[in-house]
Subunit: 287 residues, 4 copies
């Protein structure tokens, strides 16, 4: 069956940008759960009742829910209960984040043809860009000097670390990246940054800015006291994060736990990434 | 005479950072006009009465004055009248910005040994860094997408244009620089950016972000309507600026006139630049 | 047992640089199989007979052998037979490349304590730097224009592709990277290059320079004829390579099969990478 | 008069590339003095006798002459005497390099409508790219390590210095630029490199690669001995250059005087730069 229409249900600006990007590919697009939206985005609205009639594909938001009961739909006047919606989507093509949560909340959702865009690797990699750029925006706002000429320590060389190191370097910062694996240390050097073993962090020359991207408690009291005392420490790792925030408070080290950056700092890019990932999944389906 | 002490009179955080950087070079440093400052910066305060006794060199702030009468001294409880101060500084070494304004306000100032750090070329060049970074911070805050992957138009390839193009490119943007002179166009290409003649701006493919660095009305109604309709336009040129703001309002083009960025976004770097420039002047004096 | 001395046996300049780098870490170092070496490298020579007495660690060259019988030892007057050497190294610590070949040639080698530095991941990653730089040197020599401003196509985004794309971009080329996996395509874009699906190579706008880094026959007659006709094509994939060289000849497409670049273009860096990898292995041993 | 045809007289491959680039703009193009050229460049040849009949514009080569008598015409069987040619070009539009030399050799040349492309600023700037890239090619060939990770000293921050620093940095080298003027030092830092005062060169940490771009004897015996002993020194300044080559020889410092790089390493780019400059001059003429 050739796909002709999409309904984007719930969500914030990201969802609107995803809808807009889909529309500009030539599809008929509806948004549902946006009755409080005042600006004109040039996209037709529909009610949840009509949604299943109108759409061939349905896109649930990122994140799926904030309260564990209703769809995350900040632009909707009424709350949209995830349990109640399930029945209407049986055998329909539904794109969502947090698929496991969805089916756990209401087993009937398993009857839908569900695709989780949020677990795709290219989705995570693409989101490293708004994450890294968001971290830099935070750094620019919080640090009284310029990023250019500052000494930056990036802990971790995964997706976000790779993009962040490149951007900081591109702004003219001196970049040191700490990692555990020898292969990562070799790659850090090969890509033009200074490398440092994570286990030797305590001996790191004092940085101006510290970015943690690793999902582990790396910045404990000792390292905070010895290395980060005069730095701005930005933790990008999801809760509980990689920084001992209590110790930091006690020591007077300035810390920011910067979470969910993509949606906050660049809803347009985030929405377009959702759209691209959905289209990748559709393309693979056809093959 | 060997210089031993400095008094920094008036000014904002920039002045404090300049004082701190001077102190860390081993000089005795005082700050005057900072009675409202609560944080402890580890720098001794003094009154304007004692200032001339304590110091060998005196540093007036950037900008010198905001009301044309008193020294720019936001941390001072009392207003410091520029006229009244003049007499005490006869034959003393005074570093200031806006020297012409100073001596115009009170001819007695001509009796001091005045050095204007704000007219030095290396001062202007060094400040291009916080200006460019400030412009990028504004862009990150205002533009709903990421700078990475965006199409950026930079008008002008002077000090700020050069640094800004490099930083935008370093973040992963597609950078087009518009300039008038053929030599500049050749340099733009040689340094790795796309170049475009200023006179052909009307034909520029639609950018996401526009940065004006040229001191001329480049973005008139026609170009705003044709090129910038969906862009965020950031004007870095000092008043009246390079954008027809009225036309922009009428056309619904989003514009930001971003002025005096260095002091606002990076007081630490700005202060250190003041300090470096003063030390350059002292060094030349000795030769 | 604390290691005090190393003997580097056979090999070319890489081996000499590895020996020198080891010596500058404070170890006693000997080189063996260098009787034809005229320059003074400041490293003591020894004979293969004395070698086992003098050394705690023994380093065989990269590559191990060229004729499958004797050690690769271009600076040695006599051929060093791998079979005959085996007995002397029983229970000794030997670092080599191509371990499998070694033990296949003479099972007695299995009695030695053998470490293969050439199979380590950090070794391969570190060698991506001289490989990529060597490829650029070839491009500069063969292409009549500048790399700056040229359109470069890089096929594959593995170790070499990542470093090569960065360097070409750093020189001011327009870089397009072709890859198969969606995650790689996302990373290519996130790191600031243009991405293209390998399967759509036929539609690639004509490049000036083509670099193949992928170990598969990607550049067959069709793509050579349609995309690469006016390009210089540099194949970095080991034999048989990724280019149909016969077709290229027939079509008049200029191709270079650039193999074993690290040892040729940067023996110093290559030798230092061998040394670093050996020291990594020793360090892990101690843990 | 609308220009329809060009004759390129004498010259090497640069001239051929300039001719080809002109032809691809839609003009009728002839080459003269290329009877020894065997390859087919798809450009019509003509004799010097027919030249003035066939062309509206005439392009003399870069350099104009090597022996001071005949045109620099390596692809010509017969020598083309500059004196004898003069008469035919009276009142014709002639583009050349070294205009002063031309009219000094034969005053009759003053009767032609002469444009010197070689003195234009955009010509010099554009040629900084092949010069810098040529210097890097030399460095890659001569230095046994990789440029990536090496410590590079660039003396001078003029046209070539600016482009060279950017490219070296883009390859992953650690770049220190030495300059005299404070404004240049500030710009060096603002663009992301380490800066150093020329007068303090003696204290420069030992570099691996040294590039001189300044037209002054900067690398005398003392600095060669103290700073450059283990470096490869590449001098890009025109004769006599900026290096004391005798002292270097005595001290055993490896030096390369790399002159006229654009024509040697990138005739295609060099030719295209000649063409672009000529077209700029024609465009200005029309205004």
């Amino acid at each position: 069956m050739k796909i002709k229409s999409f309904v984007f249900i719930g969500g914030d600006k990201r969802q609107l940008y995803a809808a807009k990007a889909t529309q500009s590919e030539g599809y008929k697009v509806y948004i549902c759960g946006f009755d409080k939206l005042n600006e004109d985005w040039g996209i037709e609205k529909c009610s949840i009742k009509n949604a299943t009639e109108l759409g061939d594909c349905f896109v649930l938001p990122m994140p799926l829910t904030k309260d564990g009961v209703s769809l995350n739909a900040p632009f909707s006047n009424e709350s949209m209960l995830i349990k109640e919606m399930a029945a209407s989507f049986a055998a329909r093509r539904v794109f969502c984040s947090m698929k496991n949560k969805l089916t756990a909340m209401e087993p009937q959702w398993a009857g839908a043809d569900i695709y989780d865009y949020s677990v795709r690797e290219e989705f995570a990699i693409a989101n490293a860009v708004p994450s890294a750029e968001g971290a830099i925006e935070v750094a620019m706002r919080e640090y009284p000097g310029t990023v250019h000429g500052s000494r930056c320590l990036v802990a971790g060389f995964g997706r976000i670390g790779k993009v962040l190191a490149k951007m900081l370097n591109g702004l003219g910062a001196e970049v040191v990246v700490a990692a555990r694996k020898r292969a990562d240390l070799a790659l850090i050097f090969a890509l033009g940054y200074k490398s440092m073993e994570m286990s030797e962090l305590i001996a790191c020359p004092k940085p101006d800015l510290v970015f943690n991207t690793a999902p582990a408690l790396i910045f404990g009291a000792k390292i905070l006291a010895k290395v980060c005392r005069d730095a701005v420490v930005i933790d990008l790792a999801s809760a509980p994060g990689g920084v001992d925030f209590d110790a930091a408070k006690r020591l007077g080290v300035r810390t920011i736990h910067a979470l969910s950056l993509p949606g906050k700092v660049a809803p347009k890019s985030s929405g377009e990434i959702i759209k691209t990932t959905i289209f990748n999944m559709l393309e693979e389906d056809e093959q």
